[in-house]
Symmetry: C2
């Protein structure tokens, strides 16, 4: 008999094409529920083309709207916020960015300059990516330019957005493969985002391990440099080690079975990224050297069978890993 | 660590109450999709009260509408169509009913008479339960009295009903615990139906085994008696052996974890029975000694993760059963 985990991944692939469905316009609430019920993503091309943000946001507009406002900025040496870093002794640490607060105008200038720079110049990478409902808080002077809710999601889920986030960075920032327990509606405003997506059943492929936590902090010797500071108090966090763009490294016995979905969002496009999907995200800047996006997080529903089933995959993998290997039982001279 | 299968069932119960949601009216298409997305049942009380069938069907009306029509009738000794029968040698067989074709009027009279009888009288039990879209075929003269579609399901699923079935029997017929790969909308017209429901994640509780198939056939010696005739050609079929009403018999190590949902449908009530839910069904007759129901089957969607996840539970159980028992690995003198 085939191994159950391999069979799960194969069955999923037999029943689901490894492509992101493309819609010409945003779905109705019912149409959205059909995707949500299947936990499958879609891109609605140009669905946000009429948004004021998509029509009007350029660096002058942003600079003016955010004049004299201080914002939280994630600073990393390589654009690797919330990512795995290998220590000198070979051990792996999940490292959060150094966070600074600076004038938006100053931050924006650095992002634009960084769009021209090459990594070898040694400059740090800045990214506004706080994901703490920042568009209704720090960036509230820009919140007027986007809808208060995504209507189809608001109606379908019968709840308001849990968080609305503003993202601004350049091509040097990459979000490593991870998942969120939210239904995510993601809108590209300036530049492009390049998503690599894996469904939740590919959990066995991504090599989730519990890693110690750390954070970048300015070096004592050279405050312009960032160094990893281990947090010895913090609980270990589960982190996907496998990178679909380096598929032969840090693999599990199942990594080769993954069929990543890839999709690029252009200005005005909208992505539905379903809860618990793994996603890796890189970006390209627009004409003015920035990539700008907005996303709406709606709470996922933990009832029904979906959450419990994903937990089960995790538990079966853990149980397998904690069992000793043993030979196949031979019966009648044949393997089972 | 807790056993993954136990954890699956417990997690499901923590996130889902073991009750059937009650609605005051039939849901909208969107409301229905919210239940379908979670694979959770509901009862819409009185939702079919305005149906002509619910208002008008009595035995005179049925007899008149079906005058001179022959119908397929399932005949069994104990009301046990599609059920497990223990053979004299103790082996178990999945037995289909003996099927006869008879005048509806004659069949109806037998069902009414049976409503008065006690099993000890030795008479066979008759049940119209063909589930082959019979309301649009054999019973088409009654089809005019029900809606052609369940509107909320038709709109939500964007497809017509795959089958519409008519059911007529008495309290002597019981449908043993089983599941269907359909989204089922079930309407009680006369009498009551008593459903016992188990969610798909309780598969480990129900003791599904592959059984040989058989069929009731008139005895050669006494054609009034039915005997099991084994079908040696047929493939074995998966059958749930555990009965939630005899919970200490034919158990698995997980049966005690099941939390059956129980709900009674009265005349005019509508049940949404989601795909792959196990259900056992008994019935009570109305004033005229018959229980009458109608159901609409809509194709389930095999895409997304739901089907693959349920398959995975099955495969993990099978793999466990085919593995030799081995002792727990001891580390530092403690169990894992």
């Amino acid at each position: 008999m085939e191994d159950p985990v391999s069979n799960l991944i194969n069955t999923y692939h037999e029943l689901n094409a490894a492509v992101v469905d493309e819609l010409d316009e945003e779905p109705t609430a019912l149409g959205f529920m059909r995707f949500l019920a299947k936990n499958r993503p879609f891109v609605a091309r140009h669905a946000a083309r009429q948004w004021k943000a998509v029509k009007d946001w350029n660096t002058d507009y942003l600079r003016h709207a955010m004049e004299n406002e201080a914002v939280a900025v994630a600073v990393t040496p390589h654009g690797n916020a919330d990512a795995v870093v290998e220590q000198e002794d070979g051990s792996l640490v999940f490292v959060e960015p150094h966070e600074t607060f600076e004038l938006f105008e100053h931050f924006l200038g650095d992002v634009q300059a960084g769009a021209e720079a090459v990594e070898q110049d040694g400059s740090n990478v800045k990214y506004a990516q706080t994901q703490n409902d920042n568009l209704r808080n720090e960036y509230q002077s820009l919140y007027v330019d986007v809808p208060k809710e995504i209507p189809f999601a608001r109606i379908a889920l019968n709840e308001g957005a849990d968080a609305i986030n503003f993202w601004l960075g350049n091509q040097r920032s990459i979000s490593a493969l991870h998942k969120d327990s939210y239904e995510n509606i993601y809108i590209q405003v300036r530049g492009q985002k390049h998503f690599t997506l894996l469904p939740p059943v590919e959990m066995p492929c991504v090599n989730e391990q519990l890693l110690p936590k750390g954070r970048y902090a300015p070096s004592v010797k050279d405050s312009g440099k960032l160094e990893v500071e281990l947090d010895h108090e913090a609980e270990r966090v589960p982190v996907a080690l496998w990178d679909p763009d380096s598929p032969s490294k840090l693999t599990t016995p199942y990594s080769h079975m993954a069929k990543p979905l890839r999709v690029t969002l252009n200005e005005g496009d909208m992505l539905y990224l379903p809860s618990l999907w793994y996603h890796k995200v890189s970006q390209s800047v627009g004409q003015e050297g920035v990539a700008v996006a907005v996303n709406y997080w709606y709470d996922m529903d933990f009832s029904g069978q979906f959450w419990a089933s994903n937990n089960f995959v995790h538990d079966v993998l853990s149980a397998e890993q904690s069992k000793p290997a043993y030979p196949k039982l031979e019966m009648d001279g044949k393997g089972l």
